[in-house]
Symmetry: C2
Subunit: 218 residues, 2 copies
DNA sequence: CAAAAATGTTAGGCTTGTCTAAAAAAACAC
DNA sequence: GTGTTTTTTTAGACAAGCCTAACATTTTTG
């Protein structure tokens, strides 16, 4: 079907398009995949032949409907395996990405649907990212960064703008987790830093950090 | 470290040595891996360079201590993943081999030890094969084929001579499983076929089938 | 033990995925 | 709009892993 490498390219392509890059530039994809532009060009031609992307020389790539479906299948696998690793094997949320990066390429008829059932059909992965369903439908999160909240708002943390290990460990140090319920106490006029309180916490976040944390208003 | 292909060669080498082939012939390994003799020769040279096998032209291969350890690690992973697939994802025992063939190559510091703990440190896989411990120690099974039993013996099925899908499905049809306790009723003088009874079964096995089933006497 | 058969190795080629360096095209700047 | 800078593609190379066909060695056999 598709090689691990092809799957990685398609998943990266999906992520970049999701973030608004349309079409996706050669160098952008190269940076994301830590590879060289020339390798990306080679893969672009191969994926185009397989009708997984639209590609015109010097004009970048876009996923076709078929390529998008493959990308969503890989994303589903990635996020379900991450959920397994955290919920069942007690990994920390900053340790699972690289393992899932390998597990997402394991291929078998209904392995992933059985894993989904075993995990109780989770809606999101350990980082708060929505898990595509088996048809490839991705729930659009109804959330906003903390930076757009007002003092007095009651909020719940539902996701992150990115899941870099640095951000994840930062949140661990602040004892903030997906699902936490908090109240915005104040936003400082000088540096837009945010003071929040929860159960038994009183936390101050820089505007930089607050901008990475996605919440829903309660 | 080692590529999936190298790991597959080492695991196959271990299995063939375990069955008594020492040294292992090029063609034997080629048949086992469904590849060509010339590919095996190529890999022999590479594994020798990595000091994972001893190899002399025209004389076959033998695992070194290092190669044996790698093979046992892969075997451990294979059997633990098989156990996971059967116990947690409800796969049948004849479906899990090919999936484990992929999962065994996933590499991460203590993934397999965590999986081991999650499964409750199983001693054997779904086919009754012993699971090497983390140091690479493989418990030697104390079992014999049904064919060497005598009428009147009380036995427990503990393993199989091979785990081919055909044998596994044959045993399913006969409602025989690992762990079943049975009594040998008779061995026919004409064709050495065996009649056994258990809980609520009365089964006749050909000598061919009986020779594949490993039991311990109670 | 010499010829024949079986087994194993080498030579050369293919594919996938990667890279560097050179060339081409596009975008930017004045 | 022309020249410069940036981006992208092409050309050519390489490693891994596999293949076929030709050749070499070992084993078997009469
Ligand atoms: Mn991956
Ligand atoms: Mn995630
Ligand atoms: Mn394998
Ligand atoms: Mn097994």
């Amino acid at each position: 079907m598709h090689s691990p490498s092809e799957e990685n390219y398609l998943k990266a392509l999906f992520a970049l398009e999701y973030d608004g890059a349309r079409p996706v530039n050669t160098n952008l994809l190269a940076a994301r995949l830590k590879t060289k532009a020339s390798s990306v060009t080679d893969m672009a031609r191969k994926l185009q032949q397989k009708k997984l992307v639209h590609y015109r020389k010097y004009r970048g790539m876009r996923l076709t409907a078929g390529g998008r479906k493959v990308a969503l299948d890989v994303l589903r696998k990635h996020r379900l395996w991450e959920t397994f690793l955290v919920q069942k094997l007690n990994y920390r949320w900053d340790e699972v990405h690289e393992i899932a990066e390998q597990l997402e390429h394991v291929r078998h008829k209904d392995l992933i649907d059985r894993l989904d059932a075993f995990l109780g059909f989770p809606a999101t992965d350990p980082h708060g990212d929505p898990i595509p369903d088996r048809r490839g439908v991705l729930r659009m999160p109804d959330s906003c960064p903390i930076t757009v909240c007002r003092p007095g708002d009651r909020i719940r943390i539902v996701g992150l703008r990115d899941s870099s290990d640095e951000l994840l460990r930062f949140l661990d140090r602040k004892t903030l987790r997906i699902g936490d319920t908090l109240t915005i106490r104040a936003i400082d006029d000088y540096d837009r830093s945010v003071r929040l309180t929860g159960e038994d916490k009183d936390i101050t976040l820089s505007a930089l950090a607050a901008g990475k944390i996605l919440v829903e208003k309660l």
